[in-house]
Amino acid sequence: MMPCEQIREWLPWYVTGSIDLATAERIAQHLRDCETCRSEFVETAQLRHRFAAAITEAPSPGSRAWRQLGLRLGGAETVNIDLGSFLIGLRIGVAAHDRRTPVRGDLRIWGRNVRIIGRKKGA
């Protein structure tokens, strides 16, 4: 039988279900017999609900963050055409960066990209 202190340390993971079955069963058995730990289990579940709800309420950074990232990558991609499958295909991208509109094209062969238009990676 696990002592109360040990049970209480495990409660957050018991509440979220991120725990192995054997430990979960031992905790469930303990909670059936221990009113103090049962009450702490309820408090922990409520606390987790409030915390997760508050985090989910946070506003999303949205498309602005993506645009900024696009500029750092060397221009916001304005056109992206991807034909074929994951293994074989052709992808052409056109970006807008200051006064330039770089075009890049990759041939995809067995899942690997080979640059056929534009600067090669690391060039």
């Binding site: 979220t16 991120s18 987790r48 915390f51 709800a53 985090i55 963050a65 900024q68 990558l73 899942g111």
Partner: protein, 168 residues
């Protein structure tokens, strides 16, 4: 649908389409974690930017030993630490958006939690986020934080006690 690991493999070949997909799947998660850590929307956006730039440059280093989500959160954690070092966090006041005027009970509840989080140390906010929001196991949390599992459990115990006290 392509898996996150497949997207990373294509990002390693500088595939911007795959990068955008990964961003769309995980940007909210990374931003929310960064917000929990920094308590500042501007810094949280910066952490998101730096995390995604690291992914763009280092996608090939992902070896599949952990979940992609855990790998991304690990990068975000390091980026937040780097920012803290640069910004001398002690001098900055939290700048969370003022939502006190909102009549919604749901928003009101979030404001209470946000205020409570402001009072907790960074390490406790971090462990609360990993466990209560990301549903990570003790082992996964310990790996991400580089701490023994026993320390994670005891830190989480104190974190939830402190959060409950602040919310009471």
């Amino acid at each position: 649908m392509r898996s996150d690991a497949q997207l990373l493999s294509r990002i390693a070949d500088q595939d911007r389409g795959a990068f955008r997909l990964l961003f769309e799947r995980h940007s909210d998660r990374i931003y929310r974690f960064a917000l929990t850590l920094t308590r500042n929307p501007h810094l949280a956006e910066e952490v998101l930017q730096e995390t995604m730039m690291t992914v763009w440059k280092a996608a090939g280093r992902f070896k599949g030993r952990s979940k992609v989500t855990t790998w991304l959160l690990g990068i975000a954690k390091n980026q937040a630490r780097n920012l803290f070092r640069k910004e001398e966090r002690g001098r900055r006041l939290p700048e969370m958006p003022d939502r006190h005027g909102d009549a919604s009970g749901k928003i009101e509840m979030s404001v209470h939690v946000e205020r409570a989080l402001d009072t907790l140390p960074e390490g406790q906010r971090e462990v609360l986020h990993f466990v209560f929001y990301e549903n990570l196991s003790v082992r996964e949390t310990a790996e991400l934080l580089g701490l023994p599992e026993g320390t994670v459990k005891s830190r989480m115990y104190h974190a939830r006690k402190n959060l409950a006290k602040e919310l009471a």
